[in-house]
Symmetry: C2
Subunit: 327 residues, 2 copies
């Protein structure tokens, strides 16, 4: 039983990426309880919502109240998504610690997603950084480079195309540049190659990995990202989200399963998996009928499991299962 | 678009490990149709069942008929599981190409699984190899080393404990020694370490990886196994199987998602994913009410996807999905 000094930050995006991708609108009171429970389970950064017009995304109409609540949680790093200057300004004024800007690699996705070409979005990012530098110093800006591994509209995306956008973002002055597999196109060989190149090209501005589990490859891609030295991974509780046109095509990677992967591999996340699993009940009660994903909540932690820092789980281990003749 | 000469063998274990782990008994006619469809989708090795007493596993009562059918499929490598000398002899007589022997690392699991201590099982393996050498030369024998990464009954299993059993199997004269994560205990760091050590200890007798997806870590562990040079991976269509005491705790890793992972990474498997997905309908019809898992069958192949050998998919790509403000 060795303990580990390697740390990985799990950035929980369920309240943003999960809730925006389902038709139900989570009541504000439940949202606040959920965010508190996630933080109490040891998650240190939570993307709590988006600053977008409520008529576009009614799920996010309560974003100011949500940010106010999240900021009251001691030690929590409060992140939001903002698609444009207006949203970013509102986010700055609300007192967030970090904003993520969705920047598509392809014009096709960029137009469909935020009604701007990639060139127009680069200008917008420049303006957002200028505003931050002038009036909101200290707020962290991350470019979330979308469809970095392939595009549902344009199809194939080359490594060079993605890196060109990453370099443009570095030149704009963002603090961090993360790579997003928006629709589950990435494979581990590509992930390893791309994050290594990102570090080579933008140095300490190289940011985290944002994987969707659309094709079940999310944790496989995490292994590759870890190999490449990535230390921040986005995920959402219960893998909330997905695509209504493809039932079963899940949302982000599942935080519960990710936390187990990381801790089992010896990466300290600070997360208590049993407390994290307990937080699912808030989701299940507030979002009746929405699909909740993941495995660890059903299987429990293995017998003899210890966290990366050496502590034992808080809940007892489940009984083993033996059927037929096992291999 | 580069083509690849790297090949990985997917060894399909659904008709054995999947069907033994569910309560439904698949009608023989459907089983034969299913095996034919799997082979037609390009799977080159299928574990078609177990030679065990029908009163223990009624799902396998038709094993002789199933083997006869499988042997009639040109080019198919027909594998079965046999837990003891009697089963192995029946398997040899039925004309299988390969038998897998389930050999537990812990006495606790060994007794619960096959009512033999590990020492008794080593003797049994020795007898099975002697019988093969005497009367059934050319039939391949694999030791499937179970609970190699941790045990649902005994808990923690040390690397040394597992390697000791692997060395005993090499000494018995089996052809291949594979490592099985019987209950989803393995993590990628452990998988990489253990397969590298297996190769160092038993050389070209080092065999494949058999992972259960109990905690959603299956494909993550595959990435680690590939890093370690493993070239045979077991999986089952639709991840059939699991544990009735832990609903949602799935069975083997899903062949559809595995084939996508491998092909996307540039490993040629020979599998046509669309044809593989089509074979699920046989399962869905014959096993009403059983949970079928996987992602690729819902999400489809990505736009612009090509197989490792350069060919394009046989089915058209699905439409993209865009909701909220995507990252």
């Amino acid at each position: 039983m060795t303990t580990s000094n390697r740390k990985v930050l799990i950035s929980e995006v369920g309240p943003r990426d999960g809730l925006q991708s389902i038709s139900s609108v989570m009541p504000t009171a439940a949202k606040l309880r959920w965010i508190s429970a996630l933080a109490a389970a040891g998650l240190k950064e939570i993307e709590v919502g988006s600053f977008v017009p409520p008529k576009l995304l009614p799920q996010m109409a309560d974003i100011r109240e949500v940010v106010r609540h999240a900021r009251s949680i001691p030690g929590l790093h409060v992140a939001v998504l903002a698609p444009n200057l207006q949203g970013a300004q509102s986010a700055f004024e609300a007192g967030v610690h970090k904003i993520t800007l969705p920047v598509s690699v392809t014009d096709e996705h960029s137009m469909a997603n935020i009604r701007k070409t990639t060139g127009q979005m680069i200008e917008e990012v420049r303006d957002i950084v200028a505003l931050r530098d002038e009036r909101f110093q200290g707020v962290q800006i991350e470019a979330g480079v979308s469809v970095a591994f392939g595009c549902t509209i344009a199809g194939f995306v080359s490594d060079d195309q993605t890196m060109q956008m990453c370099l443009a973002m570095a030149e704009c002055g963002v603090d961090e540049i993360g790579l997003s597999d928006t629709s589950g196109y990435a494979n581990p060989a590509q992930v390893r190659r791309m994050f290594r190149r990102l570090q080579a090209e933008v140095g300490d501005k190289a940011g985290g990995a944002h994987f969707h589990n659309t094709r079940g490859q999310g944790l496989a891609n995490v292994v590759a990202a870890l190999d490449a030295g990535v230390t921040t991974i986005d995920s959402s509780q219960a893998g909330l989200g997905g695509c209504p046109y493809a039932p079963g095509a899940t949302g982000n990677i599942v935080t519960e399963d990710l936390a187990f992967l990381l801790e089992a591999m010896g990466y300290d996340t600070g997360v208590d998996i049993d407390r994290l699993i307990a937080a699912r009940t808030i989701l299940a009660e507030a979002l009746t009928g929405e699909a909740l994903y993941g495995h660890v909540q059903d299987a429990g932690l293995p017998r003899g499991f210890t966290y990366a820092n050496g502590r034992a789980p808080s809940a007892p281990q489940p009984e083993g299962c033996l059927l037929g003749v096992a291999q």
